[in-house]
């Protein structure tokens, strides 16, 4: 069998999709556990970051579709088991589902740290779906630079039409993507693919080694600091201002952060930890069903049925409300501790018929 000249590009883009996704559940857990009436700054900041991670994941899907690849989303290997170990070039650490705390924000800073970042685990098995996220010995920024280089070189070698030969009907209409950080773009050429990567890298790491992200230039937004520095602002309880250095602490106005105003969720909850007939188990199972069926809708959205995005968005809202319910449910025999969303993959054959307004089972033809 002839190896597709894009095989390596496909794999890197699938890795990008999985990398962007893997950070979202930990950020969501921190966000859901915050008591927002007392921590408005932390709530808004974490929200702004995970919305952008969702955008990055969608942009990576758009690029993969543009080059005629197929994003894998509804798959057991797509969902990390938390705490997930990340092996970076210069440090190893676990990323877990942990309530809002100084510890969780420290971990988020580790994830987003602009320099010397690599995720190092090997992949195989299914050609396009990566087994583990593997950036080799590169930082996230360098990893995206490699994808950029691949796109440029393949275009030079094979021509733009041969590289960007994906079905345009597989692109998600930016109008269907709302409430996210920045805007989605249609990718159908080298220049739009490179722009998509610039958006990802600049929001995440900042542009040109500064603390500021690229949104002022890309989306006409107010100046905003990149992800690592946003977490640093929460951590220090102080904003960056013009003239601050990426290596130093923020020196702008102080912001209030109340580390105690968080729901006391157990660390890294798993549904199987909760007794079989407990209310925590009932809701955790329901959440995992919803999460997995959401991944299914997202998979279909980026595999030729972009109209599915509306259901996927509806399911994301439902997941939020279910997660908030879980955080009100006490855990038997763990005084004062509450359950939380566990983000576990339910195989297709174990999915149940729920009548969420947006589930596939209630409306399979639309």
């Amino acid at each position: 069998m002839q190896v597709n000249f894009k095989q390596s590009l496909f794999k890197n883009l699938q890795t990008a999709i999985e990398l962007e996704h893997s950070t979202i559940p930990p950020y969501l857990v921190a966000y859901f556990t915050i008591n927002d009436s007392t921590n408005a700054f932390a709530v808004e900041t974490i929200r702004s970051v995970f919305m952008e991670e969702m955008l990055h994941m969608s942009l990576a899907c758009q690029i993969l579709n543009a080059v005629n690849g197929k994003p894998f989303i509804d798959h057991a290997k797509f969902v990390p088991e938390y705490p997930a170990e990340l092996n970076f070039k210069d440090r190893d650490f676990d990323v877990g589902l942990i309530k809002f705390s100084k510890e969780s924000i420290e971990t988020f800073m580790q994830i987003e740290k602009p320099e010397d970042v690599s995720l190092d685990v090997a992949g195989e098995d299914i050609p396009v779906l990566v087994d583990k996220i593997n950036l080799g010995q590169s930082t996230i920024g360098e990893f995206y630079a490699v994808i950029k280089q691949q796109l440029i070189e393949l275009t030079k070698e094979h021509g733009e039409d041969a590289v960007f030969n994906g079905d345009k009907k597989r692109q998600l209409d930016p109008a269907e993507y709302y409430g996210g950080g920045g805007g989605l773009i249609v990718v159908d050429s080298l220049s739009t693919a490179l722009l998509a990567i610039d958006i990802i890298v600049e929001q995440g790491e900042g542009s040109d080694h500064s603390i500021w992200d690229g949104d002022a230039a890309c989306f006409g937004q107010d100046k905003e600091v990149a992800h690592f520095f946003r977490f640093k602002e929460i951590y220090e309880g102080q904003l960056y201002q013009e003239g601050d250095s990426p290596k130093g602490k923020p020196t702008g106005p102080e912001v209030g952060v109340n580390w105690n105003a968080a729901q006391d969720m157990i660390d890294n909850p798993r549904a199987c930890q909760f007794p079989e007939s407990s209310t925590a188990r009932e809701k955790a199972d329901e959440f995992n069903q919803l999460y997995s069926q959401f991944l299914e809708q997202l998979h279909l959205t980026f595999n030729g049925e972009p109209g599915r995005m509306r259901r996927a968005v509806g399911m994301m809202y439902q997941m939020k409300y279910l997660a908030q319910s879980l955080l009100n449910i006490p855990i038997p025999d763990k005084e004062g501790k509450v359950a939380g969303p566990t983000f576990e993959y339910v195989p297709v054959e174990e999915r149940k018929t729920y009548n969420w307004s947006v589930s596939k089972t209630t409306d399979s033809n639309a």
Binding site: Y178, S277, T279, A280, E282, K283, E286, R310, R311, V313, G314, M316, Y317, Q318, Y321, L322, Q324, S325, L326, L327, N328, I329, P330, P332, T353, Y354, N355, W356, S357, V358, T362, D363, A366
Partner: protein
């Protein structure tokens, strides 16, 4: 769980599940049971204590009742003293309001409005909160888990 170990709050939650038709997990998931119990204890402690002790006689397991229990509870709800407080309890969960023995009704809290079961029963959502997402109205209304 041993019945004597059961906290008053859990008993109140189980009673609420039986009277509203929502699951115990749904009741706990609102995060409102402590507040609602406090409101009752503040407004009419005797009535809520009488209702809870009437309910405590039945052998409930996670809010699930046998047919015999249901017949006995229906009987209790015919009781002229227990009926009004039971009605208030149901109204509270469905509307988030207090409207028992007061000249005016009032919404108990912001969360009470947002979590009120009438929206879920209707497959709808509270205006200004819990938005369902653009275009989701094209799908059938949300209903409940099929057993």
């Amino acid at each position: 769980m041993n019945k004597s170990m059961k906290t008053k709050r859990l008993l109140f939650e189980e009673l609420s599940a039986v009277l509203t038709g929502f699951s115990l997990a749904d009741i706990q998931g609102t995060g409102l049971s402590s507040l609602y119990l406090e409101v009752f204890e503040d407004k009419d402690p005797d009535a809520i204590n009488n209702l809870l002790s009437a309910f405590e006689k039945f052998d409930t397991e996670s809010g699930k009742l046998s047919d015999d229990d249901l017949i006995l509870i229906s009987g209790a709800l015919e009781d002229k003293y227990l009926r009004p407080i039971s009605q208030q309890l149901i109204l509270m969960w469905y509307t988030g309001q207090w409207n028992f023995g007061e000249p005016d009704t009032y919404v108990i809290s912001k969360e009470a409005y947002i979590e009120s079961f009438s929206f879920r029963a209707a497959g709808s959502h509270p205006a200004g909160a819990k938005q369902p997402g653009y275009g989701t109205w094209q799908f059938p209304p949300q209903t409940f888990l099929e057993e």
